[in-house]
């Protein structure tokens, strides 16, 4: 049976009395410029959630609101069941910012010790956990070097260790692999998998869709400060098909009719071609039957598996409202 994308998302959404993140019409404006507009989102515990969108879509502003760094203009949100205005919401939260700047005059072991102390990690626990984290991110040999002497990749590893120092239940990673070489990216991927196995929720902002594709369980697409779509990634990509139809005659009524099976991709130069993203291949015979029933000449039907990049372009590219917002 052919399902729509929305019902797939609902079917896969887990239910929990206290989600890791829940936002209700969250909004942020800077003067007349709206950065985030009525964003509602629910991220369950233990999920690895990818938050995707073009530059300026409102991703970092959303994360900053959830972390209490930016005050929402309206709306509300909870993190680990507590309101974001309460500092206690951040007690078990880790954060690696996109434009990370740390106190470069600190040695990395001192840096982690300060952050652990500020997260109420006991001295005894710190002495155990910090060497473990340094080992995890591959910085044991550079533990007594000042951060000012670190490369960008090493700083990012140090930042990742800092995000994990409180043994968090929820970790925000904002572009965690932007400064890393392939080995570093693999390390981040492994860390995310290990966190996921331990039941830690990971909220991942990234432009590297290939990273998101292999790490996330669900992805949300945001443009113009609004959540466009949330889809369970594995099932969506397992079945998602882009079908190109070559037809005898295409009008608006026909396009509207086809839209019931999936998302129409922006029309190209050839007016006889219709491109449609559908949840699975089971939709194809139904579409063919419907077209024949409508008396439309069907000259060709070419299905093709979609990557996350295709999905991203399909969702973000079809919505131009953010470009003028």
């Amino acid at each position: 049976m052919c399902q729509d994308l929305g019902s797939l998302a609902q079917e896969n959404a887990l239910t929990s009395p206290s989600p890791a993140i829940e936002t209700f019409e969250l909004a942020k404006s800077y003067g007349t410029k709206a950065a985030v507009r009525g964003l509602s989102l629910r991220v369950e515990r233990s999920e690895v959630f990818g938050f995707l969108g073009p530059n300026g879509a409102g991703k970092t502003t959303t994360v900053k609101m959830l972390l209490g760094l930016v005050r929402p203009t309206s709306g509300d949100a909870t993190v680990l069941g507590r309101p974001i205005a309460s500092p206690s919401a951040r007690a078990k939260v880790g954060y690696l910012p996109e434009h990370f700047r740390f106190h470069e005059w600190l040695r990395v072991d001192e840096f982690l010790d300060v952050h652990a102390r500020l997260n109420d990690v006991s001295r005894e626990m710190r002495s155990r956990r910090i060497p473990e984290l340094l080992e995890l991110v591959g910085l044991t040999a550079a533990a007594r070097q000042q951060l000012g002497t670190y490369s960008k990749g090493m700083l990012q590893r140090a930042g990742l260790a800092q995000a994990l120092v409180s043994d968090p239940d929820l970790v925000f990673l904002d572009e965690p692999t932007s400064g890393l070489d392939p080995m570093g990216r693999r390390l981040v991927r492994d860390v995310i998998h290990r966190l996921s196995e331990r039941g830690v929720t990971v909220f991942l902002n990234s432009h590297l869709l290939s990273e998101v594709e292999v790490t996330c369980t669900r992805v949300g697409f945001i443009t113009g400060g609004q959540m466009r779509e949330v889809v369970p990634l594995a099932s969506a990509l397992n079945g998602l098909v882009r079908v190109t139809l070559r037809l005898g005659n295409v009008d608006d009524a026909l396009r509207r009719g086809l839209a019931r099976w999936g998302r129409l991709v922006e029309p190209g130069a050839d007016p006889r071609l219709v491109v449609l993203d559908v949840p699975d291949e089971e939709c194809l015979p139904e579409i063919a039957r419907w077209l024949v029933g409508q008396g439309v000449a069907l000259y060709g039907m070419a299905p093709q598996r979609l990557s996350l990049e295709d999905l991203f372009v399909s969702i973000v590219g079809s919505d131009r409202s953010w470009e003028t917002s």
Partner: protein
């Protein structure tokens, strides 16, 4: 009930530990950025230079065969006050120089972000930074002033009156400017923050001298200007209080020092300044809490 009390105590203990951690981080930054090494190194050079002056003054006293007298004590008192005046200015400069990067700098560079997401209110950041900077300034001004007073005592045997109280007031003067800078840093850029603090110090400085001139020329208008500026920025008034305490009665009464004042600031002015500093810290907390980082 017992659990509630224990939890409450734990929260307070945790809050104090956070403040101390931020204060320690602030002090470590000042140290690692070599401010302390350079400031103390050149401060020691200033004290040494001052000592050379005292040494030759003492030699002159001995050559003339003059013993300890009211005039000699007044001369040494004037000398010590000149040295302390220069050091109070160094304290003001140090206050602005270390407080600008601590708040405006960290906000602009976003190093504050990873601290602000910790599970406590931003008041912890403000109070912790204030405490750390206050400790550094008290140490710096205290060391310079103690060095100047100490070297004078070692070479001439002269000690100004109530040195501990005077030096504490000098530290308070620097802390006033540091607190103003910390508050400005919650909203202003690095450069604007420095300009604001030094500009306000300039206003206080000019107002203070106008008040002094008004006191001697019996001009109520000038005195009033001085009072208003000292209420707005009490740093200069606190220096005058420190100077009045450490100058001898003769120097004060005969007004032979540039720091002698017709109407010395009262103890209420010191209380006002302490409340003023506390209000600045509260205002800085309020401003930082409401700022998007």
């Amino acid at each position: 009930m017992g659990d509630i009390v224990t939890t409450h105590r734990t929260t307070i203990g945790s809050g104090i530990d956070h403040v101390l951690a931020i204060a320690g981080l602030t002090i470590r930054e000042v140290w690692r950025r070599r401010f302390l090494a350079i400031a103390f190194g050149l401060g020691a050079a200033c004290v040494a230079l001052f000592g050379v002056g005292v040494h030759f003054a003492q030699l002159d006293v001995l050559r003339r065969g003059a013993g300890r007298s009211l005039i000699m004590d007044s001369a040494f008192n004037l000398m010590v006050m000149a040295g302390l005046y220069a050091e109070s200015f160094l304290g003001i400069m140090a206050a602005v120089l270390i407080a600008v990067p601590a708040m405006a700098g960290e906000t602009a560079s976003h190093t504050l972000d990873v601290l602000a997401v910790k599970p406590f209110r931003r008041a912890t950041l403000v109070v912790g930074k204030w405490l750390g900077l206050a400790c550094v300034l008290a140490l710096y001004v205290g060391a310079l002033a103690a060095g100047t007073i100490g070297v004078t005592w070692a070479l001439s045997g002269y000690v100004p009156p109530r040195p501990a109280e005077g030096v504490a007031l000098m530290a308070l003067e620097a802390i006033v400017l540091m607190s103003i800078t910390l508050l400005g840093g919650t909203r202003l850029s690095v450069v604007a923050n420095g300009a604001l603090s030094l500009g306000l110090y300039g206003l206080a400085f000019i107002g203070g001298w106008l008040e002094q001139i008004g006191g001697f020329t019996r001009s109520d208008a000038l005195v009033d200007i001085g009072i208003v500026t000292s209420l707005l920025v009490p740093s200069e008034a606190i220096w005058k209080k420190a100077a009045h305490i450490m100058q001898t009665t003769v120097v004060n009464d005969l007004a032979i020092s540039p720091f002698s004042v017709a109407n010395p600031p009262s103890a209420a002015m010191v209380v006002y300044t302490v409340v003023y500093v506390a209000a600045l810290v509260v205002a800085a907390t309020y401003a930082l809490e409401r700022r998007d980082l």
